[in-house]
Subunit: 303 residues, 2 copies
Amino acid sequence: MAAETYLVTGATGFIGAAVARALAAAGHEVHGVGRGGRGAGAGVTPHACDLLDAASVQALIDHVRPTHLVHCAWDVTHNVYWTSPANFDWLAASVALLKAFQAAGGRRAVGVGTCAEYAASGTILHETGSPLVPATPYGRCKLSLFHAFEAARLMGLSTAWGRLFFPYGPGDGERRFLPALARAMRAGDAFDMSSGAQKLDFIHIDDVGAAFARLVESDVTRAVNIANGEGVTLREVALRAAEALGRDPALLRMGAIAARATDPPSLVADVSRLRDEVGFLPQVPWRQGVARFVAGSDAAQPA
Amino acid sequence: MAAETYLVTGATGFIGAAVARALAAAGHEVHGVGRGGRGAGAGVTPHACDLLDAASVQALIDHVRPTHLVHCAWDVTHNVYWTSPANFDWLAASVALLKAFQAAGGRRAVGVGTCAEYAASGTILHETGSPLVPATPYGRCKLSLFHAFEAARLMGLSTAWGRLFFPYGPGDGERRFLPALARAMRAGDAFDMSSGAQKLDFIHIDDVGAAFARLVESDVTRAVNIANGEGVTLREVALRAAEALGRDPALLRMGAIAARATDPPSLVADVSRLRDEVGFLPQVPWRQGVARFVAGSDAAQPA
């Protein structure tokens, strides 16, 4: 078999950096593309490339000649990204990237999907058994890209699509739930949150990186949920964080923020494909992962 | 209400020309974009634009300022288009067009989908009740674009998606089934075809144009099947063509060509949305339409 060359897009972002780390740790030759050509972590060769520019993408592909692609890049500007027209830019650019990769002899491509592709149902979400009716533009554009990956598969490229649930851990955006909660509580401030009744499937970022690494190394095709397979309420997570920080749980003002109309009561994955076909089991139990992360005892990774 | 300006892409093609004609006949201001800036029919203002070039698309939108868009353009090179990488170019370009249209104040967009978006099932195909599992790259890329239209709808644009079944009539490509059959039989030649057992939902091109015109004029959203709602075997169609041409049906060599593995036994639409919500009923019965077309008594339309 010819040498394998892995290309990770979004390699300076939360997801992409974890994927690139996991691939480098497994001994692969890893190339990373991120914003502004910043470093992409140890063992990852950084490249400057504007993925929204077709000529720049072609030059990157011609230079790196990747055999394997993990496409993590997307605009996920906090809150805004759910409804941003930038979703169209990333959808179109992702399709162009996929085509350029395949045309240049790429062998295997994995895309980063989202649990937001599923219809809100309250049931355990299965890759093919659960209806795919995204309630948001972000979810729709990711589902749209999933079908482009399926088209590439039908044209002979080995492709898979990791539907990511709720990642957390070092490198997470400061405005996201756990970092914001931890910052407020450390300062002794009250933290406004929703009722906390929503049951979500959290997965530690190290497990996310390792799961995508195993997925791209495998020959498993189509959609695969990337999750723990265990539903935990936001309330439980917040209380665990307060406990780990040694703060009064009364600082958590549950119900202060209204839930979004599009928020389903639960988003929990069936992980049988990840476990049985990819052969991956998450290693970080949520109680331990949340405590470590909010207490800051997780080593911060280069972002 | 502000004046309405309709833009039809692919307006020199089989579908787009019929849509542009129907909109012009209804008294609308219609602008057409087609290959090489060729004329797009009476009452349609032609524009030269390379839809695969973002700058060209933006200039077109800025110039025409359309309020309504019917996006018919796609690469449908006979046979090749089912698996062509050009599907990716048209998918990405279509997403960019949709975004530019919405950003410039567009109010309503209709896309041209296909029955190839459905899973092969043999049952009557319903827009939301039937599984969407396309077996071809073309079908996947069209389904991908459907979700982009849904994303635009969730961002506030009124959108709909016409899933077109089997159009036939004047302007159809010479290598497609009925034109090729008619040409062979007129010359007294044998015509090789599949077993003819496949049951398809044929719709005359005039009905296709009128259906899309009514759809874009309406405020009906999401997917709508564009079809007659009646299944006819290819065998029946071929025999009817032979009859209309006064030729020996023995010239039809049924079974000479193997069916493609991806061909489902039937592709017939549930047309209740088209009939009850759009308020459109096809006007051309297939026996009459097929006879008129192969006999050449349908007026050829400018292509």
